[in-house]
């Protein structure tokens, strides 16, 4: 069974995000990047499935100039991926259509039974790479899945979708297929820094060129802004001491702590 995982980097929210002078994107000067959380779930699922059923795990990421794709891919290897591939070369993170086209082309020579990717990413909330890729390659696709299991004959997988009200749907999907992963059965494993550093020096990160082109999403960001503070909200300012006192005061005012104490 050959598993393929698609990953991307997103801005690290530990840093304060600032909007650039044009007002249509993030200021990249101070930005740092981390692997997208859902993509890490997808990788963890792939590794777990490989441990249970055997096979290989190949990780693909687009060669984007911002951030550090090599580090993401070396981290995949440190976690146990068998092979990593950097796809194409982009100045900045392309939209979902271009990304799906690039992945579809890159996948041509790579054996793949099950393609896993994060269901979405925080920087576009688009969730389209999986479906677009599936459409391009003529495969079935299922999004927001958990609990992936390979069938006995290895020709299909089952996966869960969780609905509101605690209802779970189980799907059987014929392989090859694309799944958008919502979470993994275990937290993504730790990649020791010494392994990552060693791999960055010694490992082979394959690169494939892609033609690109094809239709784009056609969406343009007109403007980007930080949500304005609503009039109804009180922003508590000051140091930790002052903030804590104000919160205690508010809770007391509303009888929340008073009731609990008695």
């Amino acid at each position: 069974m050959d598993y393929v995982v698609l990953l991307k980097q997103v801005p690290d929210l530990a840093e304060e995000l600032e909007i650039d002078s044009a007002g249509t994107g993030l200021d990249r000067e101070w930005m740092s990047y981390v692997a997208s959380e859902w993509d890490e779930y997808a990788l963890e699922e792939a590794l777990q499935l490989r441990e249970a059923n055997g096979g290989t795990v190949t990780c693909l990421a687009l060669g984007v100039a911002t951030g550090d794709v090599d580090e993401v891919l070396a981290t995949c290897l440190a976690r146990g991926a068998d092979r990593v591939v950097k796809v194409g070369s982009f100045d900045e993170s392309p939209d979902s259509h271009a990304a799906a086209a690039a992945f579809a082309e890159a996948l041509e020579p790579i054996p793949h039974d099950l393609i896993l990717t994060g269901v979405q990413a925080i920087d576009d909330l688009d969730g389209q790479v999986g479906p677009l890729l599936a459409a391009r390659r003529g495969m079935p696709h299922l999004s927001v899945v958990t609990h992936i299991a390979v069938s006995g004959d290895g020709r299909s997988v089952t996966a869960h979708q969780e609905y509101a009200g605690g209802v779970v749907g189980e799907f059987e999907v014929d392989l090859p297929a694309v799944l958008g992963v919502q979470s993994s059965r275990e937290a993504p494993r730790y990649a020791p820094v010494s392994r990552v550093r060693q791999l960055l020096k010694t490992a082979t990160i394959e690169t494939v060129d892609v033609a690109g082109g094809g239709p784009r999403s056609g969406l343009v960001v007109e403007s980007m802004s930080v949500p304005e503070t609503g009039a109804a909200a009180e922003m508590i300012a000051g140091n930790a001491q002052a903030i804590a006192e104000r919160i205690a005061e508010l809770l007391a005012e509303r009888g929340i702590t008073g009731g609990a104490a008695r």
């Binding site: 730790y190 020791p192 820094v193 002052a242």
Partner: protein, 744 residues
């Protein structure tokens, strides 16, 4: 005049055949002894190469000092005079009796057959020899009796109950049998020797000079008094001669397989112990040739260094590490004693070394059928070996260590537990066995350079409220480079103290600067949590930043940072003079750059941070500061190098401690609260400040004790003007302590 008749016959009443039999037995016992010692040596030869010698000159100095320590039993007597005195009695009794026997051998087997004219075992020599051996033999027996009484009382350190395994699955009776066998055998050896001597004196009808064998003389007299005649004493003497000989020779044969081996291993181990043990952890490359599968750290027995293997054989189960350890005290599943003994037994079992009288475990942990804790054999594993890190020594056990170094400090035989524990942690990290708390901290440290998950750019935000800005040491030359550290920079409670440090330094006219966002965590705790790659990343970054700044020396408030900057950064290209702020404050108060305006008229106790008192051996400076500002210092029972850990070190602060029976920090607060009239609990470590601020509330002592940093008392004593924005509180101890008290 003392003639040649002042002596005794050496093989008195033993026939020629008997003499031959005796020498055959000697040869046999010696052969078994040598084989046993050889097997032990072959065990150490399996260890990984590790340079513990260093420069020959400094090693010779250390070895000489260790030999004196051993001779004087200094390490045994430390904090236990009783054990020290009586152990010395046994040790010197045994050594002198052994030398006495060796002298006899020289006389009877070399001098007499080869050069009888040089025979010396008579006259004055005989009298002095007899007296010395008698007295030292008596001292040995007294020592054995005293130690047996101590052992029979079962003090806490000699209780072998495990902290990590249910009593039902393990039987350590073998340990106790071995202890008593060793002690008892020595006692029987001594007693038979004296009875032999007494019956000999009686059988020879009290030769006058034998009064210089006073113990034998008294025994002879006693036997005479109860009616034994010289003639009837002779068969008893004959039986005793053989009895004593056989018991001694069995002891020689049993020696390398018993507790007695410590008499050979421990002086060597003490001489080999490193003054930097735990302080400077080995870099990865120095661990010898890389294993075929590229694994890191101590994963298997074969990853242990030869020093670590001598360590495990040196252990006498004295239990001093066990009772000093904060993990044991707080109910965590780690005992440094058991960890060492587990590795000893596992290595003996795996390498088929005969080690009778050990622990029997029904969970198949040792040498048994190999299905117990064994995990799948990875690639490159030698046959039959099972996982050490995360296997025999469980991950929970390894993560329980605070690296406080109390075990290494307490160990009388030079065992270095902490480097071995960290080595196994490196393997856990390498295997990806990392708790969620650690993973979060590591990830944040890798990305942002701090464990608080905050932007690295926010590192110097604590300076925003300062009335006078601090120099940026990256742009301007300074005398002192202040390496602030993670907790002092980001923890809100500690920030108050950090700002006071800045203002006290400023008011003393110190020329100092900080690296602002150029600084990252120094990595001391990261390294001790076993994430060596991340530590390298941090150290390389900081050395890079420091190499671009121009300064004369470094000061830090954080003892953990102090340790790694001082002892470990030299391995990464940064060799600095590093001071703790308590030392700087003491110097400033001494020189008059800081002037006490009012006395701190309070009764305080001072908690020695482990990384300051044990690692850097700084105990006087903070006390000098307290004396200079007029505080009335009352010591806790455990102080100085014998301090008790707060539980935060070695990466413990990032891990869940809710499973502990009672946190070490809370036990420490109780220790302080028992001191009459003490109102202030003073520390000199950012982590201590957060740990004890929480502990004093958790134990309900916040009415009685105020936890404060040394700087807070100094700031009050030098009457620092509080012209800070009014909203900021004053960073005073009172404010902080009352902050958490809810109204009502």
């Amino acid at each position: 005049m003392l003639g040649r008749d002042v002596t005794r016959e050496l093989f008195e009443g033993i026939s020629h055949e008997g003499e031959v039999l005796f020498y055959v037995l000697v040869a046999l016992a010696t052969a078994i002894f040598l084989v046993g010692v050889g097997v032990r040596l072959s065990k150490y030869a399996r260890g990984r190469r590790q340079d513990v010698i260093g420069s020959p000159v400094s090693f010779a100095q250390r070895a000489a000092k260790s030999t004196i320590d051993t001779a004087l039993n200094r390490t045994v007597a430390k904090r236990d005079r009783y054990a020290g005195v009586f152990h010395a009695a046994i040790m010197w009794g045994f050594i002198v009796l052994f030398i006495g026997t060796a002298i006899l051998t020289i006389e009877s087997d070399i001098v007499r057959p080869l050069a009888p004219q040089f025979s010396f075992y008579w006259g004055a020599f005989y009298i002095v020899y007899s007296l010395i051996l008698d007295l030292l033999g008596l001292a040995m027996l007294v020592g054995i009796a005293a130690m047996a009484i101590r052992r029979a009382r079962r003090p806490r350190q000699l209780d072998y109950t495990r902290v990590d395994i249910a009593p039902a699955t393990t039987d350590r009776g073998g340990f106790r049998t071995g202890d008593w066998l060793f002690l008892g055998w020595l006692a029987v050896l001594g007693v038979t020797g004296f009875v032999l001597e007494g019956t000999r004196i009686l059988a020879n009808d009290y030769p006058w000079f034998e009064v210089f064998s006073p113990v034998g003389w008294v025994i002879a007299g006693t036997f005479g008094a109860i009616g034994l005649s010289p003639e009837s004493a002779e068969p008893i003497r004959y039986a005793m001669w053989w009895g004593h000989a056989v018991i001694a020779l069995v002891f020689v044969a049993y020696f390398p397989f018993s507790k007695a081996i410590h008499t050979l291993a421990d002086p060597v181990n003490l001489a080999l112990r490193s003054p930097l043990a735990g302080r400077r952890l080995p870099v990865l490359q120095s661990a010898g040739p890389e294993p075929a599968d590229g694994h890191i750290g101590i994963r298997d027995l074969s990853d242990l260094s030869w020093k670590a293997l001598i360590d495990v054989d040196s252990c006498t189960k004295c239990g001093r590490c066990h009772v000093a350890c904060p993990a044991v005290a707080s109910g965590a599943p780690l005992s440094p004693r058991d960890l060492i003994l587990d590795i000893r037994q596992e290595s003996d079992a795996a390498w088929a070394i005969l080690a009778p009288l050990s622990e029997h475990r029904s969970d198949h942990a040792y040498g048994g059928d190999g299905n117990g804790t064994a995990q799948a054999d990875g690639p490159g594993r030698s046959d039959g070996e099972r996982l050490l890190a995360g296997g025999l020594i469980s991950a929970d056990t390894l993560w329980s260590c605070t690296t406080c170094l109390a075990c290494v400090e307490a160990c009388p035989v030079g065992i270095e537990h902490v480097p071995t524990i960290v080595g196994m942690r490196r393997s856990l990290v390498d295997q990806g066995i990392v708790s969620p708390g650690l993973q979060t901290a590591f990830t944040s440290l890798a990305k942002q350079g701090n464990s608080f998950g905050q932007s690295g750019r926010a590192r110097a935000k604590w300076t925003d409220d300062l009335p006078t800005p601090i120099v940026d040491a990256r742009k301007q030359d300074v005398d002192w480079l202040w390496f602030v550290g993670d907790f002092a920079s980001f923890d809100v409670r500690v920030q108050e103290a950090t700002r006071l440090v800045a203002r006290v330094f400023q008011s003393a006219g110190m020329d100092f600067g900080i690296l602002y966002e150029g600084e990252r965590s120094a990595g001391n705790d990261v390294r001790r949590a076993g994430e060596e790659g991340l530590y390298e990343l941090l150290a390389e970054h900081n050395v890079g930043q420091l190499s671009r700044a121009r300064f004369r020396r470094i000061v830090t408030t954080d003892p953990h940072t102090l340790n790694t900057l001082k002892f470990e950064y030299p391995d990464f290209g940064g060799d600095y003079e590093v001071w703790h702020y308590s030392q700087v404050l003491a110097a400033l108060l001494e020189s008059g750059d800081l002037v006490r305006r009012r006395a701190i008229d309070r009764r305080v106790t001072y908690h020695d941070p482990c990384y300051l008192a044990r690692y850097s051996q700084v105990t006087a400076a903070p006390r000098d500061v307290l004396a200079a500002i007029g505080a009335d210092l009352r010591e806790m029972p455990r102080n100085g190098a014998n301090t008790f850990c707060c539980g935060a070190g070695g990466g413990r602060i990032w891990q869940d401690d809710s499973a502990l029976a009672e946190r070490p920090s809370e036990q420490r607060i109780r220790e302080a609260a028992a001191l009459p009239g003490v109102t202030d609990f003073v520390t000199a470590c950012p982590k201590d400040l957060t740990m004890y601020t929480a502990a004093v509330k958790a134990t309900g002592h916040d009415e009685q004790l105020v936890v404060s940093d040394l700087i807070e008392l100094v700031a009050a004593a030098v009457d620092l003007q509080f012209e800070v924005p009014p909203d900021d509180g004053q960073g005073s101890a009172e404010d902080a302590a009352t902050a958490g008290v809810a109204p009502g």
